[in-house]
């Protein structure tokens, strides 16, 4: 496919409109020296990825990203930052020496190559087929509750374990110290 072909499809223009700000926000996310700003750039990146998922027709997954990643996980990050230090302005400890930066860049490029390569290898150039039935969410539920019903139950055990781990880390037993457990 040539570049002019690629540009003649309207979807690709929409993709560019979404992907370029996403890329910019992702770069700012790792380069900014303010933790709260980094979390907010993460919101932009996640919102753009939700938009890309909408573009692919995966509505349910797209809104899941908004509900869970933006509405819950980023809020958890912000809570974590705010109850500890809530630094306003720049923070010196966030800038690392050059060697660390280079190593981080190398690792992230390797990861990008791995995931991107795997995705390209798995789908090559075959176009995505639209499912026949109208509600794709229905199809998702169908698969989840028939073929993947055991993993689905295991997920809830995993969530339970995650929560117990979190509570053990964040909280002392009430008897451990005099005024503890606040």
């Amino acid at each position: 496919m040539s570049l002019t072909d690629w540009l003649s499809t309207p979807e690709n223009w929409v993709f560019l409109v979404i992907a370029l700000p996403m890329l910019a926000a992702a770069v700012k996310l790792v380069t900014t020296t303010n933790v709260v700003h980094a979390a907010l750039y993460l919101v932009v990146t996640l919102a753009a990825s939700a938009a890309v998922l909408l573009l692919l027709g995966a509505e349910f997954v797209a809104w899941t990203v908004v509900l869970v990643s933006i509405g819950a996980v980023v809020v958890l990050f912000l809570f974590g930052i705010m109850i500890t230090r809530a630094p306003m302005g720049r923070e010196a400890t966030l800038s690392h020496p050059r060697s660390v930066k280079l190593a981080a860049a190398a690792v992230s490029f390797a990861l990008f190559a791995l995931i991107g390569g795997a995705a390209v290898d798995a789908f090559t150039s075959q176009p995505l087929t639209e499912p026949a039935d109208a509600t794709r969410t229905g199809a998702l539920g169908e698969v989840l509750f028939t073929r993947f019903v055991i993993p689905f139950e295991v997920v809830s055990v995993l969530l339970l374990a995650a929560l117990i781990g979190g509570i053990v880390l964040a909280r002392r037993d009430p008897g451990e110290t005099a005024g503890g457990g606040l």
Partner: protein, 139 residues
């Protein structure tokens, strides 16, 4: 075609932002602009602020957020179940009952562990009034 479906939403967001920007521009024209150091200081009902708001906050806020993430993930599955509810019947009810039971177990664990007690400090204080610490009594 899902993209067309979301066009109104994109337009609505643009309209909402546009509305705000126009209002702010109007206000910029009409309103005064005369900032003084006193006006720009943090508002604390007239008292001069003594410290920056960089204190540490109770960890219970974080516990709430953590619990919320767990439950939020479970909600996604509930929605996937609710859409196709008709076709699952009793099997679906059973699968979801186990899932919800584990969810409730999470809640009960958190509850018993005391992460939902927002008033532990006060309760401990009250208990000490009733029965003083033996070590303290000896001293």
């Amino acid at each position: 075609m899902t993209l067309v479906d979301y066009l109104p939403i994109a337009l609505m967001i643009i309209l909402a932002v546009g509305f705000c920007v126009v209002m702010l521009l109007l206000s910029w024209r009409v309103g005064p602009r005369n900032p003084t150091p006193e006006k720009l200081a943090p508002y604390e009902c007239g008292i001069v602020p003594l410290q920056d708001p960089v204190e540490r906050f109770p960890v219970k806020f974080y516990m709430v957020a953590m619990l919320f993430v767990i439950f939020d993930v479970e909600l996604i599955f509930l929605f996937a179940w609710a859409v196709n509810f008709e076709s699952f019947g009793w099997a679906g009810i059973g699968a979801m009952a186990i899932f919800v039971a584990l969810l409730v177990e999470t809640l009960v664990y958190v509850w018993k562990r005391g992460a939902l007690d927002w008033n532990v400090a006060r309760r401990l204080r009250n208990r000490r009034v009733v029965a003083p610490d033996p070590a303290e009594k000896a001293a």
